[in-house]
């Protein structure tokens, strides 16, 4: 029975699917792939239960393939570790591959692997260690880093370059997970920069580049070594890395930049490798940015860069074109003039068929615009937007249009009517854009800051409100309605037909709550404005009609599901009802009352109060104003206002109840002001009450606001007689030559254009062109005169240039609302930049790198001994209990959050605290941090480290040595057998009853070849079926761009 079982097992296992079978099976079951794979997974689970390691190995190999198809295989983690621990290289490799694909730093199973990986790292076979390093690099966890750091460091000085190279790269991963390893490992890493093997050298450069990219200042002292490498090495790959590193270092040390310019320009001239050339240009640009002042002759370098970039951009290779544009955008920031010389080229790239290139050209456009060409460029962009199909690209275009127009507070916009028209056109393009909010902000900004354009704006916005339909799609464009409603309400004084606008706003529509709320609010503004006109005209009947009309329409919103809308609508209704009651009394007593107009004085007062509510100019609030408001004394923002509720459930349910009462009953009106959610009875009395209350509140609000306004020195007070146009007149007083032109608003022309084919915004372009051509004519005339007189041509040119620029039609108001005593130029707090999750923050460790400037050596024996103890930390902690691990973690977290400068002092205290708790020798980090590093101090950790390692390694190494001897023997035996076996193979295959194919792998190969040759023949006879032969196309590696390696 048992024999039978074993036998059965054996044969079953013989016919297990291997990876090839699995792949073939999946390909044969295209229709029900998921089902097939699930049966395969069942089989794999069976196989994993076997004791035979090669069966398991086969199963894990299959799992790795299945993982690629998107199946979770973490359930097999334990089996994967089993396979990893096999002594056979074949199995080990498969195990580590599977682990690298499915393990991650948080996998709990990794705890089991520490000793196994250590064994592999110390293996005599360099490929065992190599495979372990490759796998480990993908899933190394903080615990593993801490425990294996020493082993990996030992490998850094292995005799085999292959292992040195891998260990050096591995150290970077260790640093990321376990920053404490950086300090002791760094001297060794530095050594590797001068390793005899170019691969190791390159790996070390690679690691330091990665480290320096995030914390460049710690690596400045290495610059001389890198400089030497740069001037001597011929390995382009490494050169690129070094040059990139210099690009990151130069901003910190301008002297370095000056030194670099010459060798870099030499490289630019001499190299034939485009990749190297490109990186050189990039770094030269970085250098030039960092020393933008002080060097007289650097314009030559800029010219060289720009010239070379032009060559790249003009190249037919799209990749070079792309990179050229990318680098140009870096120059643009500091040397816009030299880029502007190539405007033609960049504008041409806007029409490129390649989207990536168009996007890069768009980036550059920012610096290309001037007052003269803005309209034309925007016209082109709008044209692109109409044609563009991808919504992402359209969005990008939209964003760019706004960006180039709005840059440096609309520096280049001369005509804001044009700009508003452009914005409206952007809205109407219906791009499904997510920039609705942005456009809304722009509309508001322009309307607020450019007073002259308001009349145009309100009319445009009325049209927009009238015609814009909120589509069901989830785009954000409806946000513009928010801005539009606000503009027509706030600047209702500019409206020609306020009643029409009012009706548009009162139309019941499906709108998001926050927008509908703004609608209601601005209905009141419009109402106040219309009521004032009625007062002026002494039109009682008109006022009553207006009240009734608005009241009627507002009822729709009283029952809105949005609280904001409901509240606003209710308070609006109350206000107007108040007015209405006053009017009603006078209506009843029409014949008897005394006032000649028939409007009761109380009603007049109410209307006046209402207009006062909205009087006063609003100016934009400065971006940082809120932050600048000082915290009042005695206010603790973290304190609870009310004690936190003891029971969540009860309180939430009760508050729900309250809410219901408050807002459902409010549709009857008035409860918002009532004394807190009583019954619905006696609403009349309540109304009475509110009638008395409201004017009082209004009065109070008004006086408070007036007080505030008079106390605020930044508030622009408007004289009572001032109209909105002249409100800012005092600003212009000192600048006589700024023309406050009358609006050249030709309504007929606009209407005609609206019907016509051309866009409305084009009109302004045509106007401008016409104007400039007129000017050109003048200029030519002038030139004729002047050229005789003018001898200084340069001066003349500059003046003509400025003349050529169209003069701004509208002025942008730049006043911003700010708290007292605060200036805008205050720099941003840098805290915002920090990402608490960035592993590189923890790596911001000052390294004791010996500077090229010699330092006084003050080392003492005490320091070096402390260095030793410091190095023991990883080893000790490996054996430590889990509680101390936790402590360490906390400690690390705390360290990560700390400011770098404070770190020294704080580390002392936390380390001391940790020592007190865990009684571990973590303490000695303090001494390692001693402010004056010295060469001997650095040497100490290295040697002690080596001692440590050798101590660790020796016993293991001894064992391995013995084992190896045994292995060697057995291997020899195996080799003999294989030699025999190979002879037997055909026979064995024959015994199995099959003809022909000698060995599995070979047979497969042959079949492919056959297929290939067949495919060729088929092609010749032009009858190839696409589906099969598609996979068999040779990859055709023809592009010989291999210049680096």
């Amino acid at each position: 029975m048992a024999l039978k079982k074993v036998k059965g097992n054996f044969f079953e296992r013989m016919f297990d699917k291997n990876l090839t079978d699995l792949v073939r099976g999946i390909r044969n079951n295209k229709d029900n792939e998921a089902k097939y794979i699930s049966t395969c997974i069942e089989e794999i689970k069976q196989e994993l239960r076997q004791d035979n390691i090669s069966v398991k190995c086969n199963a894990v190999a299959k799992l790795t393939y299945i993982q690629m198809l998107g199946y979770d295989i973490s359930w097999a983690g334990f089996n994967i570790i089993e396979v990893m621990s096999s002594s056979r290289f074949t199995c080990k490799r498969i195990g580590y591959l599977a682990a690298s694909q499915c393990f991650h730093p948080d996998s709990e199973l990794l705890m089991l692997t520490t000793n196994m990986i250590r064994k592999d790292l110390n293996s005599q076979n360099q490929y065992d260690a190599g495979v372990a390093l490759s796998g480990l690099s993908c899933f190394i966890s903080p615990d593993l880093s801490r425990d294996l750091a020493n082993d990996i460091m030992t490998l850094m000085s292995s005799t085999k370059p292959y292992l040195r190279m891998k260990a050096v790269l591995m150290m970077y991963k260790v640093f990321l997970r376990y920053p404490e390893a950086l300090r002791p490992a760094f001297p060794k890493l530095k050594e590797k920069l001068e390793d005899p093997d170019p691969g190791v050298q390159s790996a070390a450069v690679n690691v330091i580049c990665e480290l320096a990219r995030k914390n460049p200042k710690n690596y400045l002292p290495l610059a001389p070594i890198f400089f030497k490498l740069m001037t001597t090495s011929t390995n382009n790959w490494m050169l690129i890395k070094i040059i990139k590193l210099f690009g990151a270092l130069t901003p910190l040390e301008p002297r370095l930049g000056k030194k670099l310019i010459e060798p870099l320009t030499n490289l630019i001239h001499s190299t034939s490798a485009m990749s190297l050339l490109y990186e050189c240009i990039n770094t030269v640009i970085a250098v030039l940015i960092s020393i933008s002042s002080g060097m007289p002759n650097h314009s030559a370098s800029i010219q060289l860069c720009v010239q070379k970039l032009r060559i790249l951009i003009e190249d037919s290779d799209q990749n070079l074109k792309y990179l050229g544009l990318l680098a140009m955008s870096k120059i643009l920031k500091t040397h816009p003039k030299s880029v502007q010389a190539h405007k033609d080229l960049i504008l041409a790239c806007l029409d490129d068929k390649d989207e990536s290139i168009r996007l890069r050209a768009l980036d550059l456009l920012y610096g290309m615009v001037s007052k003269k060409n803005l309209m034309e460029i925007v016209k082109r962009l709008l044209g692109h937007m109409e044609r563009a199909e991808g919504s992402a690209y359209r969005d990008e275009l939209l964003y760019k249009v706004i960006e180039i127009c709005a840059q440096s507070s609309y520096l280049y916009v001369t005509n804001f009517e044009w700009y508003l028209t452009v914005l409206v056109e952007l809205i109407q393009l219906e791009a499904g854009s997510r920039h609705g909010r942005l456009i809304a902000e722009q509309l508001l900004d322009v309307a607020i800051r450019v007073p002259v354009v308001r009349q145009f704006a309100v009319n445009e916005m009325t049209n927009l409100l009238d015609t814009f339909t909120v589509s069901a799609q989830s785009n954000s464009m409806y946000e513009v309605l928010y801005a539009a409603a606000w503009i027509v309400g706030e600047f209702s004084g500019e409206l020609e037909d306020a009643e029409k606008t009012l009706n548009i706003l009162l139309r019941p529509r499906q709108l998001p709550g926050h927008i509908q709320g703004v609608y209601v609010q601005n209905v009141i503004k419009l109402f106040a404005r219309l009521a004032t006109t009625c007062l002026e005209l002494q039109d009682l009947a008109g006022l009553i009609r207006l009240c009734d009309h608005v009241l009627d329409k507002l009822q729709h919103f009283n029952g809105s599901s949005d609280i904001e809308v409901q509240e606003r609508a209710n308070s609006a209704c109350m206000l107007i009802e108040m007015l209405r009651t006053q009017l009603a009394t006078s209506e009843n007593a029409m014949d008897t009352t005394t006032t000649e107009s028939g409007i009761p004085p109380l009603a007049i007062e109410i209307v006046q109060e209402m207009t006062l509510l909205f009087a006063g100019e609003l100016i934009p609030v400065a971006p940082k104003a809120q932050r600048k408001v000082p915290l009042p004394d005695g206010l603790d923002l973290d304190e609870w206002i009310n004690a936190p509720p003891p029971e969540d459930v009860a309180s939430s349910s009760s508050s729900d109840h309250d809410k219901d009462e408050l807002f459902v009953s409010s549709s009857q009106g008035g409860s918002g002001l009532g004394d807190g959610g009583g019954g619905g009875n006696g609403s009349g009395a309540k109304r009475r009450q509110s009638l008395e209350l409201t004017p009082e509140q209004l009065e109070r609000q008004r006086t408070a606001r007036l007080m505030e306004q008079s106390n605020n020195p930044h508030y622009l007070k408007s004289t009572p007689s001032a109209t909105s146009t002249s409100a800012n007149a005092d600003q212009y007083d000192n600048i006589d030559d700024i023309p406050i032109t009358e609006l050249p608003l030709d309504m007929e022309g606009v209407a005609a254009l609206r019907v016509g084919i051309t866009k409305r915004s084009d009109k302004y372009l045509q106007e401008q062109q016409a104007a400039s051509s007129g000017k050109d004519g003048k200029k030519k005339h002038k030139k004729g005169k002047k050229s005789k007189k003018a001898k200084n041509k340069v001066a003349y040119n500059s003046s003509s240039e400025s003349e050529g620029e169209p003069k701004p039609l509208h002025i942008v108001n730049t006043t911003l609302d700010m708290p007292e005593g605060v200036s805008l130029s205050d720099s941003e707090d840098k805290d915002g930049k920090y990402d608490p999750n960035d592993p590189h923050r923890a790596l911001d460790i000052e390294l004791d790198i010996t500077d090229f400037e010699p330092q006084a050596s003050k080392s003492t024996s005490k320091k070096s001994s402390s260095g030793k103890e410091n190095l023991k930390v990883p080893a000790d902690s490996a054996a430590s209990s889990s509680t101390s691990k936790k402590d360490r973690k906390k400690d690390k977290d705390r360290e990560g959050k700390r400011e770098h400068k404070e770190s020294k002092r704080e580390r002392k205290s936390t380390a001391a605290a940790a020592a007190a708790v865990a009684s571990q020798p973590v303490i000695d980090l303090i001494d390692a941090d001693t402010p004056t590093p010295s060469p001997s101090h650095i040497a100490a950790p290295t040697t002690s480290n080596e001692n440590n390692n050798t101590a660790n390694v020796l016993p293991d190494g001894g064992k391995h040595h013995k084992k190896k001897k045994n292995k060697d023997k057995s291997r020899e035996a195996i080799i003999d057998v294989t030699a025999q076996e190979e002879d037997n193979e055909p026979a064995a295959a024959g015994q199995a009853g099959q003809a022909g194919e000698p060995a599995a792998s070979k047979s497969h190969k042959k079949k492919h070849k056959k297929d290939k040759s067949q495919r060729k023949e088929k092609k010749a006879s032009a009858s190839a079926t696409a589906s099969v032969s598609e996979y068999e196309q040779p990859l055709g590696i023809s592009t010989p761009s291999k210049e680096i390696f």
Binding site: T64, M165, L169, E210, A989, G993, S1001, P1034, T1039
Partner: protein, 191 residues
């Protein structure tokens, strides 16, 4: 740093996926899908760089890819890598594959995904470029293959025999038998 290396065919079927930062399986598939959609709609004569998708990367990351016959080789890298350098690295990778598989085609990648992984691990380790010299890479791969062969020894013989049996694809072989084309005259024959 390289964040991910993806190889997929013209239909978006993954042939190799290597992520140097952990994503769970479903996210990996989404990334592959998204990347495929980004890359596949591009013409062959446009540039080989594009901004990374929403899932992988962000502004600092780029997709750098090459398209060979039926396969896309996509590298997702951050700004510390040289764009042109990575393009050359892809070329080295493909040329190495070509040497290892003798005139490589998609089928090789399909059936030997593990071998491709092993080759890749000699080029890139943990997201950092390990070796760019093709001769060195080939030497390492050959030595490891030798090691595998040594280990296989006897124990592999029966397995090899079995797999030889299994790879006997008889119907296919019958199909593969080439019959001479009938003379054109017979086809044209009119009754």
């Amino acid at each position: 740093m390289i964040k991910a290396i993806l190889v997929f065919n013209n239909h978006g079927k993954p042939r190799l996926s290597k992520f140097y930062q952990y994503f769970d399986e479903s996210l990996q598939q989404q990334i592959i899908k998204e990347t495929f959609q980004l890359v596949s709609k591009r013409d062959d004569n446009v540039c080989n760089f594009l901004e990374g998708g929403s899932l992988i990367g962000g502004s600092d990351y780029k997709l750098i890819y090459r398209h060979y016959a039926t396969l896309y080789f996509v590298f997702c890298v951050d700004s510390s890598e040289s764009e042109l350098g990575i393009l050359d690295l892809i070329q080295v990778f493909v040329e190495t594959l070509d040497k290892c598989f003798e005139n490589v085609c998609e089928l090789d990648l399909i059936f030997h995904a593990d071998a491709v992984h092993h080759i890749l691990s000699e080029l890139v380790m943990g997201g950092m470029v390990l070796q760019t010299n093709m001769n060195d890479i080939m030497a390492r791969i050959e030595e490891q293959n030798k090691l595998v062969k040594q280990e296989a020894g006897i124990s592999a013989a029966p397995a090899r025999a079995v797999s030889a049996v299994k790879s006997m694809n008889i119907p296919q072989q019958i199909k593969d038998i080439k019959l001479p084309d009938l003379p054109q005259a017979i086809k044209d024959f009119k009754f």
